[in-house]
Amino acid sequence: MTVMSRAWGRLTLPGKVIFTAIPLLLALGVALALVVGILGGPIVELASQYGAVLRFLVAATIILVITIPTAFLIIFMEMKIIAFMNLRVGPDRVGPWGTLLSVVHGLKVLMKEDFTPSRADPLIFTLAPVVVYGSSVMTLVVLPFAPGLFAQDFNIGLLYFFAMGGLAVVGLLMAGWSSFNKYSLLGGLRSAAQMVSYEIPLTLSVAGLLLLAGTMSVNQLVANQSGWFTNWYVFQQPLGFLIFFIAVTAEANRTPFDLTEADSEIVAGFATEYSGMRFGFFFFAEYVNVFIVSAMTVALFFGGWNAPFPFPALAILLDPGSLGIWLLLGIAIVPLVGTLVLSLPFLLTRSAMPAWQAIVLGFVLFNVAVVGLLGVWAFVSFDWVAGLLWFLAKTYVFVFTFVWMRATLPRVRIDQLMGFAWKWLMPAALLNLFVTAGAILVVGR
């Protein structure tokens, strides 16, 4: 008994929660399995009835899961791109070209001691990273990745995006206040002032776009921009795009507006006292935010998943049934022939290479070719594959821009930051709104 109570006493608060939750979850799982076994039929019926809810749940889970590789990728991009711009080589030891270094960073963060300073407010201190990370993940819900590939299509999607983005400031303020550190407090207050100031030009900058589009659903906004790239809203709203881009840079706390974690001034801002995975949440949230704001810029101004020009409709007529017996023969022969044909150049030209190596190389090349052909087929045949590729390509161009800015620009001062928002961005956003409204009055939508 004493052993149990001592072991219980050694657990930290999250540990106690987890150790209580694990048996409960196990019991729940067993119960669920039983319920599914007994009531399987009616549940399937119910699920088909509430397909939208189920779809949302699955999509939300996928979104939560893909944030981690996204963050890893952007962290690696940041390390490598900034290194290249600094004429350095950057990470090149862990994995091919150092690609695994960000994963190692993640593991390192997991293994560090999770430390709560004395005199900190433990509850708020623990909750703050959750709020920050949660807000950025929830923003992903309205992002349309491809036609049909989105978690939820709100008719107020854009409002939801701004609202969830604004929620992050609560988390940062919580972190800054609860850390019992003056640097953290300054960082938290800076983030509050900065985010509240930049929310206004951010929202106003898209008001003109909304006038043009007449909808707030992000899906609809993207669908409006289909066709040639001249349909993209950036050509109708260049000023709006500029203001939007500057304001989201500030919203995502990126250089030159990264005052909340200005490392040369207030050490690490709100994250000064955080370590371990709690810091990891802030860290990941920052990079997920970079992805989100890039994706939102693409969706609003750069046509989202639309290709820059409409593809000529390529209908690949592939009806395997019509081939008859030749289908079976093809399946048997094509890999052999393909492998041999592709290994022929090596067999003929590289006399130093043993034959088996040439054949293995030919097999690998054949596989690459087949996968490439399949990719092309999928790209042409499925809307969502092409859309996803276009969307990600455009998004990562903007991610590159954010990293590029970080490599180049120094940080602005807090009063210049606020002055810029209120004296320049907001009047410019209002001007943009009025000019757009006037143009619509004169020309029509």
Partner: protein, 403 residues
């Protein structure tokens, strides 16, 4: 089995006072100024920056009294890097002291050795060969350029730009390698000797120098294009830490910081030493006296240093690089004062000999100390982030300040 209290044990609680740091000293105020500073009014707070803060250029600690983000008062706390170099030098013989000089201003070590050997040469009445003097000027100007590049890079780093420092380091690394090929060390050169220098120019140095001189101006200007016209950088520096020439003179400023206020005071011209009278160079000045002027002045100085190096290479005489100097030297009792123009200002040594082989008194004068004491003058009314700008533009090196 004995049990040890573990920090993971929740029954082990730390004293609550241990967890929080109050910058207010535990003792009653010792001076009027201390009383004034540590009396915190309503709405103000004391923020401790350093000694391990990323932008304190060493181990400077600064306590700031903040009202929001606005600095009300500032109190620099020194001594975290104190080694007692003066006392060490008084217990080492004259040759040893030169190696103690190097880590004082560790980014411009040659300018710390220079006044020391000059003072000893005065004490011993040694005539330094002209070739040695030219080599001193040549290496010294190279070191000045590398120091200025570092100062400019760190200026940008303190403002949040991470790239300029690396571009600066590429150039500085080239110069450091160059100096390593002639002095034998990359950072703490220990190159000047009493009566000359420790080794003649060699082929490796000259070929590296020739390579670099061909592209130096273009490279430095290209790198500074990142900052000089950058609106963010200019706005953060213009009008920050402004000081007028009279106040600067009263605060005993020297070097680029003084010249940025418009006073063309340069030891190389005001009190010529070595072979500087034979060389043709300008003393760049700027009238604004703010951080931007101090930053831009360093670029102008780099250009002048390149001119000097060019002339040195053209006028380099032939001959020995060391005078005839005894191994064990006992100068006549007397005193000597020597001063040079370092990258940060006037660097001086005052040495007293009592006839033994060790200096009787050895006093090091460092310009950074005098620049640092002007914080109290420059900071009040500025923002917290301006401290980084001002500190970086004044370019103090704590190794020299704390000695």
């Amino acid at each position: 089995m004995t049990t040890h209290a573990s920090m993971d044990d929740p029954r082990v609680t730390l004293d609550e006072q241990l967890g929080s740091f109050e910058p207010i000293p535990p003792y009653p105020p010792r001076t009027e100024r201390e009383h004034e500073f540590y009396t915190v009014a309503d709405g103000e707070m004391l923020v401790n920056i350093g000694p391990h803060h990323p932008s304190t250029h060493g181990v400077l600690r600064v306590v700031m009294k903040l009202d929001g983000e606005r600095v009300v008062d500032i109190d620099p706390v020194l001594g975290y890097l104190h080694r007692g170099v003066e006392k060490l030098c008084e217990n080492a013989d004259f040759h040893h002291t030169i190696s103690y000089m190097d880590p004082l201003e560790y980014v411009s070590s040659l300018f710390c050795e220079w006044p020391a050997v000059m003072a000893y040469e005065k004490l011993l009445d040694i005539k330094v060969p002209r070739r040695a003097e030219y080599i001193r000027v040549l290496t010294g100007e190279l070191n000045r350029i590398s120091s200025h590049l570092l100062a400019m890079g760190f200026h940008a780093l303190d403002l949040g730009g991470i790239t300029p420092i690396l571009y600066s380091f590429i150039e500085r690394d080239e110069m450091v390698e160059m100096l390593a090929s002639i002095t034998g060390q990359r950072m703490l050169f220990n190159y000047f000797r009493i009566g000359g220098v420790n080794g003649d120019l060699n082929h490796e140095f000259m070929s590296r120098l020739g390579d670099w001189m061909g592209r130096a101006t273009a490279q430095v200007e290209a790198n500074q294009g990142l900052l000089n016209e950058n609106e963010v950088f200019v706005r953060r520096n213009r009008g920050v830490g402004t000081i007028d020439s009279q106040t600067a003179l009263k605060m005993c400023w020297t070097g680029p910081n003084l010249r940025a206020t418009g006073v063309p005071f340069d030891i190389r011209r005001a009190h010529p030493y070595s072979v500087y009278p034979e060389l043709d160079f300008d003393i760049p000045t700027r009238s604004e006296g703010d951080s931007l002027a101090r930053y831009l002045l360093r670029i102008d100085e780099i250009k002048q240093s390149l001119r000097i190096i060019d002339q040195c290479l053209h006028q380099m005489p032939d001959g020995p690089v060391m005078a005839q100097v005894p191994r064990l030297m006992r100068p006549r009792p007397g005193r000597a004062f020597a001063t040079v123009e370092g990258p940060r200002g006037q660097y001086s040594i005052y040495a007293v000999s009592d006839g033994t082989d060790q200096p009787f008194r050895f006093r090091i004068h460092d310009p950074s100390f005098l620049h640092l004491q002007s914080f109290t003058l420059l900071m009040p009314g500025q923002l917290l982030a301006d401290w980084m700008t001002i500190n970086a533009s004044l370019d103090p090196i704590m190794g020299g300040i704390d000695k």
